[in-house]
Symmetry: C2
Subunit: 197 residues, 2 copies
C-alpha cells in the first residue's frame, strides 16, 4: 500500500501522521481494471467511491435513444461515484467505466467511518469535498445553460488539461453537450486564432 | 416567530422538542421583500441561506450577451443560496431575486453552528441536505445533456408543480435551457395529447 496517491492526497489535506493513514489505507482494496471494464452499471447499487491511482474512468448515462451522455471524467487523483445511489441507497442511473487500463482504490462506508473516528478533522474535510462537488456541478449547469461551444471547450481544457489527448473527441463533445461537428469547428477556430498570435 | 414554516421544517426532520427550536429560531431574521428585490447580486459575497416562508425567489446568472439563465426557483419551504460564494468565501457569479412579494428567513453561519451544537443529529441532517443538493444537480446536468424539450418540461412540472402559473413562460424556458418557442410548442403538444384522452 506504500506510495498510493490516495495516501498522499489524505496526508497533504489532513493534518495526520503517515502511520495513522497507513493503517487505515491498508484496509482499502486496490483493483486493477482493464480498459472498458465497468465498475458500475445502470440498475446496480453503487457501494463505493472510486479513487483513480492510475488511468482514466468516465461516468455516463444512456438515453432512451441509446445515446451516451458523459457526466464526468476521472483521471489520476480524482474521485468518482454515484452519490445519489450510494447515499440514498437507490439503483444507479449511470455507468462508471474504465477508458484506460487503470488502478482504482475502492473506498467504502467503513473506511469513511474509520477516518471520521480516527481523524477529527476528516468530517470537516469531507464537508469541503461535498461543497466542492456542488460548486463544480453549479458551474457545469450554468455553462450548459449559458455558454457557447467555444467557452465550454475552454473550460474543459482548463479543468481536464491532462486528458485532452486521451479521450476520443466524440466523448468530449458528449461531455460538453455539443455535436462532434461543433467541437471540430471550435478546435479549428482556436487553432487559427493561436497561429495568428 | 411562532408559526414559521422553518420551525415546522426543522421539528419534522429533526427529533427535537419545539422549545429548543424556538430558542434557536428566535435569533433568525425574517425579511419582507418586495417583488424584484435582490437578496444577492453578482460580485457580492453571499452570507446567508434563504428559506422561503412565503413567496418565490429565483437564482440566475447573466451571460456576456446580457441573457438571463435561471439556475433555480425557490417557492415556499425551499432553501436557496450560492453555496460556492458562502462556503468558499468568493464573490458570487449569481443573482437571487424575489419574483413575488416574499417573506424570507435569513440563515447565517452562526445559526448553523448553534444548531450543530445543540442538536447532535443536525450534522447528519445537514449532510443529507448536501447530498440531496448534489442529487438534484446531477439530475439537472443529465437532463440538460440528454433530454428532449418535452421531457425537460415534464420533469419541471413534477418538481415545481405549484409554481407553473406563477412564473413567466420565458423564465421556465430559461430554466429548461430551451427557447420560449420550443416551450410553447411542447405545451401545445401536451395539451393536444391530453385532450385526446
Amino acid at each position: 500500500m506504500n506510495g498510493l496517491h490516495l495516501k498522499t492526497f489524505l496526508t497533504s489535506n489532513l493534518d495526520v501522521d503517515e502511520e495513522e493513514i497507513d493503517s487505515l489505507v491498508a484496509n482499502c482494496r486496490v483493483m486493477q481494471v482493464n480498459k472498458e471494464t465497468f465498475l458500475l452499471q445502470k440498475g446496480e447499487h453503487c457501494r463505493h467511491t472510486f479513487f483513480v491511482e492510475k488511468g482514466l474512468l468516465r461516468q455516463y448515462s444512456i438515453d432512451e435513444r441509446g445515446k451516451e451522455h458523459i457526466l464526468s471524467f476521472a483521471p489520476e487523483n480524482w474521485f468518482v461515484t454515484d452519490r445519489e445511489s450510494a447515499y440514498f441507497n437507490q439503483p444507479s442511473a449511470y455507468y462508471i467505466q474504465a477508458l484506460e487500463d487503470s488502478h482504482v482504490v475502492l473506498i467504502d462506508d467503513d473506511f469513511i467511518q474509520r477516518l471520521s473516528q480516527k481523524i477529527p478533522k476528516f468530517t470537516e474535510f469531507n464537508n469541503r469535498l461535498l461543497h466542492n462537488h456542488i460548486r463544480q456541478q453549479q458551474h457545469r449547469i450554468n455553462l450548459l445553460l449559458s455558454a457557447v461551444a467555444e467557452d465550454r471547450y475552454l473550460q474543459f481544457v482548463a479543468m481536464y488539461p491532462d486528458i485532452l489527448l486521451r479521450v476520443p473527441q466524440a466523448m468530449i463533445a458528449s461531455y460538453l453537450g455539443i455535436t462532434p461537428e461543433s467541437l471540430s469547428r471550435v478546435r479549428k477556430e482556436l487553432a487559427r486564432k493561436n497561429s495568428k498570435r
